[in-house]
Amino acid sequence: MQIDGEDLLDAPIDCVWQALNDPAVLARCVPGVTALVPTGPDAYDAEIKLAIGPLKGTFKGTVRITEQVPPEAMTLTVDGAAPMGGVNAAGRLALETQGTGTLVRWQAEPKLRGTLATVGARLIGPVSKQQTTAFLKAIEAEARQLASSRR
C-alpha cells in the first residue's frame, strides 16, 4: 500500500534538515522510540513501542537514512520485528521552502508481515499517517528551537 501526505512545518528548511539528521532528535521525535543507538553513518538500532489497532508491541529493528540530497530529500527506512510480526517502511521525504516555513512531502510504502499483515493491513494506512504527522510535528518543534537558538 502506498501512502503519502504533506505537512507544512513552521521552521526554516536547514533547521528541519539538521533536526532530521540528529540521532538525539530522532530518538525524541520518532513516536514510541525507547532506544536509538547509532551503528554507523546514518544507521541506528532502534526499539519502538507501537500499537496498530488491537496489536501492541515493542519492535526491535533498524533505522537507516539514505539517498540524502541536503537539504531537500532523504529516505528514512524503518525495519522492525515484534512477536506479532514485522514492519518495513521506506519513507521518502522531500523538503521545500515555503514562505518562512518548510513544506514536507512524504511518501511511504509500509509492508507488514506475520499476524500484523493479516490483522493490521487495513489499519496500517491511518496509523502510518498519524505517526508521520506526529513525527513531523515533533521535528517542527525541534527545528524551531534550533532556529531560535541560532538567532
Binding site: P83, G114, T115, V119
Partner: protein
C-alpha cells in the same frame, strides 16, 4: 406380522444430534489428559527465508515453559509423506517436516515449538523465541513462478514445476479446433479458497514409555490412513504402536484429510517429554498453515459449430500447489480434475494439460469437490461463452450436447472409468420448469429496458463420487498405487442388538443415522437396535475414511455386503435350529421361518444367542454372528443435475444479490432425504461463496492478506435465499443400493450457476467473462468498462 416400514428413503431426524445440541459433543479441544502440556508453534512471518538461528533462552526462562524444540531437534523423524503422487511426480516430492529445517517456505511455516504447562504461558513464551531470518525472494503466483528469473523454491524442481501431466487426445483436439466454425478462448481463474471448517485442526498425543505405544487424538477425516502414514512413513515404527482417534469433528471439507506437522510434533514431543501434549490451531494458524483449495489459472479454448455442437475442448492449467506438497495434492488437479473436464457433454475431441507449481504459499490440496468444481466451473463457463458467441440460448446448447441416456456407461476419452448412469435432460427440464425459465427471460428483457439487471445462470454438472476403485486410482502414476477400499464389520450381540463398525469417518454427514437406516432394512431389525461405531483405529477395521463423497457408495456398500453375510449365516443356523433345509428358510423382518410355516420362527436374537453360546452349532460353523467386508468397488459413481441461479445486480453499486437458487440433483437412491438436502444446501453455499465473496489473497511478499475471518469473507446467513431443491433418481448400477453420493455435488454445481447468472446480467455491458469472486467492486468496474476481472 406385516413388513415394517422401510427405513430407506425416510426423512428421519439424526441420532447424532441430541449430544451436539446440548453441548455434550467431544471435540478435539475438549480432550484433557492428566499431566497434559500445551504446545504453541513459532511461525515464520516471511514467505521465503533462510533460518539462520533460533534463540530460545528467554522463552525457556519463563516459568511454566517445559521445552522449546526446533526442526533440527526432530531430525530423527522423516518428512510427512505425499501419498498420492499422481501425474507422475517422481523426483521432486518436497513435503513438509514436523518443523521447518533451514528454510521457511511460506508465511506460517512452523519454525519452533514451545511446550508449556498451560496455553497462555506457551503463547507468551512463543513471543520470546528469537528467530534470525534472512529473507529470500518470493513468488506466490503460479504463472510467475514458471517464468524465467523466478525464485527457485526447491533445487529438484526446475521452474518450480511439480509435474507436467496430460490426458485426452492432443492431436485430435488441435485438429478439431483448427477446423472449427467457431472457437472461443478464455483465461479462467479458479481462485484460491480456504476451506474454513468451523473447528480448527489439532492433535493431542500421549506416549506410554512402558509399551512404546502412542495414542493420538486428531481432527482427522481418515484416522486409519493417518496411523499408517505416521507410523510407517514418519516415525518408522509398526502401525500397531499407534492408535489414532477422531472424536467429533467440527467440519472438514477436505482440509482434515491430510497428515499434518502437528500430528508428528505432538507425538515426538510427548515421547521426548513423557507427558501428553496438546496442540490446537488458532484461526490465523489454520489460515496460514493448513491446506487451501483450488487456485488454478487456465487457458481454455472451446470449438463448435454455428448450430451449437461442441467439437473440441483444449485446456492448459497451472495449478498452484503451495510451498510443499500436501498428502494428496498432485491427485487433485490431475485425476480428479483433468479427467472430468468434458462434463456432461459428448465432446469428440478434448485434451487437458496440467502443470502443478510450487509457490511460497500454504499447501493446496482437496477442498470440497477437489478438482471437480474446477472442472465443472471451467466447462460450464465455456459452454455459456460458446452459447453467447453463436447467439443461442444456453439451455439449448446444453441440451444439444448432453451425453444421451443410451450412451451409458459412457467413456469420455479422458482416461476415466466410464460414467455409470445418467439422464441429463430431465434434470435440466425440471430445473427450468421450477425456476420459470421462460418467464424469467421475459422479465429480464423487460428489466433491461428499465435499466435493471437480472441474470439467469445455468449449471449442468456431473461429478465423480466414491473415489475408491483400485481399477482406477490403483494404477501406478495415477493414484496411491492402491485402491481406497472401505471396510465394515457387523456383529449381532446375543441380545439381538446390532453393532456396525465402519472405516468411514462421519463429521457432519449423518452417517450414523444413514448407516443405521440401511442396516435396519437389510437385516429387518428395528432402527433403534442398530448402533454405528467409528473413529478409533483400535476397534474399527482399517478404512480409508470420509472424503470424495465416498462414504455411502463405498462404506455403505461394504455394510450392505456384510449384512448379507450375517443374514446368510443366520439363515444357516436357523435352518439347523428349526431342523429345516436352508433353501426352505425365509428371512423377513429380522426373523427366519420355514416356508409355509410362519409359526416355526427364530428371531435374530434367538439366532444370535445360539451363535454366541455356540452349543449345538451346525458342523463346521464358527460361533458368533460377526462378519467383516473389505469392499473395492468396480467403478465410481457419477451424480449429476442442473442448478439455476437468479441474480439481481444493483446498477449503482455493482452489488450482486442472489434472488433464487434452484437445484435439481440426481444422486441416485436417497436413503435419508433430510440429510441429502442438508448436504446439498451446505455444498451450494460453499460454491455460491466462491462466486460472490471468498478468495484467499497473498500480496507480492507472500503475506496472507486474508489471514483472518475479518478479511476472508466466509458468507453469513444474509447472503442466501432459501434454496429450492428437487431431484430426479437414476440408480447407479455400480452398487446394490443404487446410490451415487451427495457430499460435494452442491459445491461442484454452484459457483458457475452464480457466475453464469452474473455474467448473463452484465451482457448489456458487453461483459463476456468475469473472474470470481464477483464482488461489487469488480462488477461495477466491469459495468463501467474497467479492467475486466483483474486477478485480485
Amino acid at each position: 406380522m406385516t413388513t415394517t416400514t422401510k427405513m430407506i428413503g425416510q426423512a428421519i431426524k439424526r441420532r447424532e444430534d441430541p449430544k451436539l445440541i446440548t453441548g455434550q459433543g467431544q471435540f478435539l479441544d475438549d480432550v484433557k489428559l492428566t499431566g497434559m502440556l500445551h504446545a504453541v508453534v513459532v511461525r515464520s512471518p516471511y514467505a521465503h527465508a533462510t533460518i539462520k538461528g533460533i534463540d530460545a533462552s528467554k522463552a525457556l526462562a519463563l516459568p511454566g515453559v517445559v521445552a522449546v524444540f526446533t526442526g533440527e531437534d526432530m531430525s530423527d523423524i522423516n518428512p510427512l509423506p505425499c501419498a498420492w503422487a499422481a501425474g507422475k511426480v517422481d523426483n521432486n516430492l518436497n513435503t513438509p517436516r514436523a518443523l521447518a529445517v533451514g528454510k521457511a517456505m511460506h508465511v506460517g511455516d512452523g519454525v519452533a515449538l514451545v511446550v508449556a504447562e498451560d496455553r497462555y504461558i506457551a503463547r507468551d513464551a512463543a513471543d520470546l523465541v528469537e528467530v534470525d531470518y534472512e529473507p529470500l525472494a518470493v513468488v506466490v503466483d503460479a504463472k510467475k513462478a514458471t517464468e524465467p528469473g523466478a525464485p527457485q523454491l526447491h533445487e529438484n524442481a526446475p521452474s518450480n514445476i511439480v509435474m507436467d501431466w496430460e490426458c485426452g487426445d492432443r492431436e485430435k483436439t488441435d485438429a478439431a479446433i483448427a477446423a472449427a466454425e467457431v472457437t472461443v478462448r478464455e483465461q479462467i481463474v479458479n481462485q484460491r479458497l480456504i476451506p474454513t471448517p468451523m473447528e480448527t485442526r489439532g492433535s493431542v498425543a500421549r506416549y506410554e514409555p512402558a509399551t512404546g505405544e502412542f495414542t493420538v487424538w486428531m481432527t482427522s477425516q481418515a484416522p486409519h490412513v493417518m496411523r499408517l502414514l505416521l507410523a510407517a512413513f514418519v516415525f518408522g515404527i509398526p502401525e500397531t504402536s499407534v492408535r489414532c482417534i477422531s472424536p467429533n469433528i467440527g467440519g472438514g471439507f477436505g482440509q482434515k484429510i491430510f497428515v499434518y506437522a502437528d500430528m508428528a510434533f505432538t507425538m515426538w514431543a510427548a515421547r521426548k517429554l513423557g507427558r501428553p501434549v496438546k496442540f490446537v490451531e488458532d484461526r490465523a494458524e489454520n489460515y496460514q498453515s493448513s491446506t487451501h483449495g483450488r487456485d488454478h489459472i487456465t487457458d481454455v479454448e472451446i470449438a463448435g459449430t454455428r448450430d451449437g455442437r461442441i467439437t473440441g475442448l483444449r485446456i492448459d492449467t497451472l495449478a498452484n500447489l503451495g510451498g510443499y506438497l500436501s498428502t494428496i495434492a498432485p491427485g487433485i488437479p490431475t485425476t480428479l480434475y483433468g479427467r472430468i473436464t468434458t462434463g456432461v457433454y459428448k465432446i469428440p475431441a478434448a485434451h487437458c494439460r496440467v502443470r502443478g507449481v510450487y509457490t511460497n504459499t500454504a499447501m493446496v490440496d482437496a477442498y470440497r469437490g477437489a478438482g471437480r468444481p474446477e472442472a465443472s466451473y471451467l466447462i460450464e463457463r465455456m459452454v455459456d461463452r460458446f452459447a453467447a458467441e453463436i447467439g443461442m440460448d444456453p439451455a439449448e446448447v446444453r441440451r444439444r450436447n448432453f451425453i444421451p441416456p443410451e450412451d451409458f456407461p459412457y467413456s469420455n476419452g479422458m482416461g476415466l472409468l466410464p460414467y455409470d448412469s445418467g439422464n441429463y435432460g430431465p434434470a435440466l427440464d425440471r430445473a427450468l420448469q421450477i425456476v420459470g425459465y421462460d418467464a424469467l427471460r421475459a422479465e429480464q428483457a423487460e428489466a433491461r429496458k428499465q435499466g435493471r439487471y437480472l441474470g439467469i445462470g445455468l449449471s449442468s454438472y456431473v461429478e465423480i463420487c466414491g473415489v475408491a476403485p483400485s481399477a482406477w486410482i490403483g494404477l501406478p502414476g495415477e493414484g496411491w498405487g492402491a485402491g481406497l477400499w472401505e471396510s465394515a464389520n457387523v456383529r449381532v450381540h446375543l441380545t439381538g442388538k446390532v453393532v456396525v463398525t465402519t472405516g468411514s469417518l462421519p463429521h457432519g454427514q449423518g452417517l450414523e443415522t444413514t448407516f443405521a437406516q440401511i442396516v435396519a432394512d437389510e437385516l429387518g431389525v428395528p432402527y433403534d437396535d442398530v448402533v454405528v461405531e467409528w473413529g478409533d483405529t483400535s476397534g474399527t477395521p482399517f478404512g480409508f475414511g470420509t472424503y470424495g463423497s465416498r462414504s455411502l457408495a463405498v462404506g455403505g456398500t461394504a455394510i450392505v455386503k456384510t449384512v448379507a453375510k450375517v443374514r446368510e449365516k443366520a439363515k444357516l443356523l436357523a435352518a439347523h435350529m428349526l431342523e429345516a433345509r436352508v433353501e426352505d428358510i425365509v428371512w423377513e423382518d429380522g426373523k427366519a421361518f420355514v416356508k409355509g410355516s410362519p409359526d416355526q420362527v427364530k428371531t435374530l436374537g434367538d439366532i444370535a444367542l445360539q451363535a454366541a453360546v455356540a452349543y449345538s452349532l451346525p458342523e463346521g460353523m464358527e460361533p458368533s454372528l460377526d462378519e467383516t467386508t473389505y469392499y473395492d468397488p468396480p467403478n465410481c459413481t457419477f451424480p449429476f443435475g442442473t442448478h439455476v441461479a437468479v441474480v439481481d445486480i444493483d446498477a449503482d453499486t455493482g452489488a450482486v444479490s442472489l434472488r433464487r437458487y434452484v437445484a435439481v440433483d440426481d444422486v441416485g437412491t436417497v436413503i435419508n432425504p433430510l440429510i441429502v438436502d442438508g448436504q446439498l444446501h451446505g455444498g451450494i453455499a460453499q460454491g455460491v461463496a466462491q462466486a460472490l465473496t471468498e478468495g484467499a489473497i497473498y500480496d507480492d511478499d507472500g503475506q496472507l492478506v486474508t489471514g483472518s475471518l475479518l478479511e476472508y469473507a466466509v458468507p453469513k446467513a444474509s447472503l442466501f435465499p432459501q434454496f429450492e431443491t428437487d431431484r430426479t433418481v437414476t440408480r447407479s448400477p455400480v452398487n446394490p443400493l443404487g446410490v451415487k453420493g451427495a457430499g460435494e455435488a452442491g459445491t461442484i454445481a454452484s459457483a458457475q450457476a452464480v457466475m453464469n447468472a452474473v455474467i448473463d446480467a452484465l451482457q448489456p455491458f458487453g461483459v463476456k467473462h468475469l473472474q470470481m469472486p464477483a464482488t461489487s467492486e469488480r462488477v461495477w468496474n466491469a459495468m463501467h468498462g474497467g479492467t475486466r476481472g483483474a486477478r485480485s
